[in-house]
């Protein structure tokens, strides 16, 4: 109990040590979540766009559970049709 209290008091420097670690935790967590959300959103947008043009690639970009973004982006990259459209 006293060991735990000593841990949280950081030898009297709690007001400096904990905010430093908290800042790092908050900044890195927000960046990680924001980056992953954007990736998933882009992948979903691509999948729906490709599904809307069934003649070309609707069958290959079928959603498949948790791995959807990977599968969709991979499928999109290996297909030359996208590039020829440009």
């Amino acid at each position: 109990m006293t060991a735990l209290r000593a841990f949280f008091s950081m030898g009297g420097y709690a007001a400096y040590v904990w905010p430093a670690f908290a800042t790092a935790a908050v900044v890195l967590s927000v960046l990680l979540l924001a980056s992953r959300r954007r990736w998933r959103a882009n992948a979903a947008a691509l999948a729906s766009l490709q599904a809307a043009r069934p003649g070309r690639r609707g069958t290959r970009a079928t959603p498949g559970g948790g791995a959807t973004p990977v599968a969709a982006s991979l499928a999109g990259d290996t297909a030359p049709a996208v590039h020829r459209d440009a």
Binding site: G11, V27, L31, R38, W39, A45, L46, D77, P80, H83
Partner: protein
């Protein structure tokens, strides 16, 4: 076809790397925090404030390392027109800016009790603040152009010009007398950090590196898909 061949290979490789880098981040972070906050001694001079070092110093390394990587990627993009290099530099910038921000905030929290001040305009602190603004400027340039090709070229030039700041940061404590102390780890006569304190420092640096690789993969993938979306939407408009 050539322009899409490389991203496809990138996606295949990162598909294999991603679970490992994510797992490594968690394991290394757990170990680093355990040793950094608990299983390491306090400093003979500064007591428990030394624990801020395990955030501050790895964050500073990351800030400089990521900027150097961006400069290399920008040079590759400018010279060889590699289709992925621009995207890697663009994707890395917010991560580097975040680490530099963490470095500045944790340094301020460390300086307040030990030095007796939150901030001074000495050469080391000022050059790191400039690094932070270089990151913000680089990110802003990508936003400022409508044409991604022109944005990429302007951003690459800014990244290369700003690279002169990196050696200035590194050697600022040797070239000028600063309030910030000198180099502890690569002194020429060995490390000035006790092994019990070096362990959490190295662990946290490796954890940050694994985190960087993980988030970079997410961000580059998002950029690749965004570029493809743009192409698709343009072609849809053209009919």
């Amino acid at each position: 076809m050539h322009r899409f061949a490389n991203p496809a290979r990138f996606l295949r490789i990162t598909d294999a790397v991603l679970p490992w880098s994510a797992a490594l981040t968690i394991v290394l972070l757990a170990l680093g925090l355990y040793y950094g906050l608990w299983a390491s001694p306090v400093d003979y001079q500064q007591g428990a404030t030394v624990r801020i070092m395990y955030i501050h110093v790895p964050a500073a390394w990351m800030g400089m390392m990521i900027y150097s990587l961006m400069a290399i990627a920008s040079a590759v993009a400018l010279i060889w027109r590699h289709p992925l290099a621009d995207l890697i530099a663009k994707a890395a910038a917010p991560i580097g800016a975040s680490f530099t921000f963490i470095c500045l905030v944790s340094g301020s929290l460390w300086g307040a009790p030990t030095w007796g001040t939150w901030w001074v305009w000495d050469a080391r602190l000022t050059s790191v603040l400039i690094l932070f603004f270089l990151y913000l400027g680089y990110i802003a340039i990508w936003q400022a152009f409508d044409d991604p090709t022109r944005a990429a070229r302007a951003a690459a030039i800014v990244a290369l010009v700003g690279f002169v700041n990196i050696p200035i940061i590194k050697f600022s404590v040797d070239w000028w007398n600063t309030l910030h102390q000198g180099e502890s780890l690569f002194t020429g006569h060995g490390s000035e950090i006790d092994p019990t304190m070096l362990r959490p420092l190295i662990l946290m640096a490796l954890a940050f590196t694994a985190y960087f690789i993980t988030v970079l993969i997410y961000r580059v993938r998002a950029e690749i898909i965004a570029r493809k979306l743009r192409v698709l939407r343009l072609s849809a408009i053209e009919g």
